[in-house]
Amino acid sequence: MREVAVIGCGMTKFGELWKKSLRDIFVEAALKAIDDAGVDHIESMYVGSMTPGLFVGQEHIGALMADYLGVAPIPAVRVESACCSGGMALRLGFFEIASGYSDLVLVGGVEKMTDGADVTYALASAADQDYEVYHGITFPGLYAMIAKAHMHHYGTTRKQLAAVSVKNHYNGSFNPNAQFPKEVTIDQVINATLVADPLTVLDSSPVSDGAACAILVSMDLAKKLNKPVIKILGSGAATDALALHTREDITTLKAVKDSAESAYKMAGIKPSDVSFAEVHDCFSIAEICIIEELGFVKKGQGGPFTEKGNTSLEGKIPVNPSGGLKSKGHPVGATGIAQVVEVVEQLKGNAGKRQVKNAKIGLAQNMGGSGASSVTHIFQI
């Protein structure tokens, strides 16, 4: 396999972008990435999006985006793996270049969630329709059941869950692209409106519009372009049972663990080599489970580890310096690529007040549904 690098990135602000359409926000992010990379063409394109069909009634967006970006007739395809559609788009672009087939590929993600669709219903389509959703479960409900089990088995506290949101909102307060760039307190999180017990609205990532794109090139081409080169050291993906109740252990996100292990193996590194990570904190409990699966802390210890500040900007392993899905926003298909945008900013040392010190190796972990699919990438400057 050939070496692959990221040489340009771009994203829209995340939030309720009522004045912009699905195609507008994607093209805006794509143009930013193309301009950032300083390239005059792309050879193919992968567009991650979870369910534009349910959110705005539009499918077939690979071709649509190629048309509106003015790059048709290049091959372009939409990639779907629920909330990790973006991360999977990156993985496909990575392999297209690694294989030697292409030298210059755009990978992106987009979602338009605030146009009036039943968002709870649309998101629930990532769970088992016949045996979970039929009985009235929702995504907050699934993660709430993971939280209850984690609290029961490991003694994780309500306050420890809240500490994830407090930390991510603090980081996000320095991110100009964040949907909610403001701090929250432990009490605010705990006393906010309940969505699914014990999770409140401030344990949950928001409903957002947004897009993010990255330009991938072969290392040979990267060297000619005379730009800072961020190398992709490893890519790992995995799946698990779609229905949460079918999994062996409710508190273990096995696909996350498996995807991370393959990425570490390809990169030839161990968890302690990672300088910082962007992870899929769709709910506060998710970040606690993920840092355990990524090997940053022992299983069951994610709560106290977070509460003690180990994952803060100055901590042992900063997690979600961007503000994460919680503060930055979570336009589901865009999230996996927005993580890459942050990793690249951090590795280049351009992250301003939220800059992680000595950022050499960054990890991005993106997952779908209640953890039935996960993709992990490792980057190095």
Partner: protein, 129 residues
């Protein structure tokens, strides 16, 4: 849930029909074509026990459109006696009555009415015992 799909799932929803692997004995609910335990493709028809215990639970306060009239309602992952787990509502009790490990029994109930046609969708729910 379109009606043909609803009809198709009736053996599971009405009668808790499951498939038991002829090779390793693992029970799959709903039935599968390939055993998730050993990869075998041969099964015997079986029925889930209607007794179980709560593995984890929550109370849903923001629901999809077809359930909005029912909020708040409690949902649990229930492990039935033969080791299979299912997701189901727990009814005829208050949210604060639920606990991990509590015993439940599966009963046949209405779940919701389907869209504009108003077809009533039935299935299993759990009650505390």
């Amino acid at each position: 849930m379109p009606s043909p799909g609803y009809r198709r799932e009736m053996p599971q929803r009405y009668r808790l029909e499951a498939a038991k692997c002829k090779k390793c004995g693992k029970v799959s609910f709903p039935p599968r074509l390939v055993c998730s335990g050993c990869g075998s493709r041969e099964f015997d028809k079986t029925k889930l026990s209607d007794n179980g215990k709560i593995v984890t639970y929550t109370t849903i306060r923001v629901a999809p459109a077809q359930f909005t009239t029912q909020v708040p309602y409690s949902i649990a992952i229930v492990e039935v006696d033969n080791g299979v787990r299912i997701t189901t509502q727990v009814v005829d009790c208050k949210p604060e009555d639920l606990e991990i490990g509590k015993k439940v029994k599966l009963v046949f109930r209405k779940l919701y009415s389907e869209g504009h046609t108003g077809i009533i969708c039935y299935g299993y729910k759990a009650i505390l015992i």
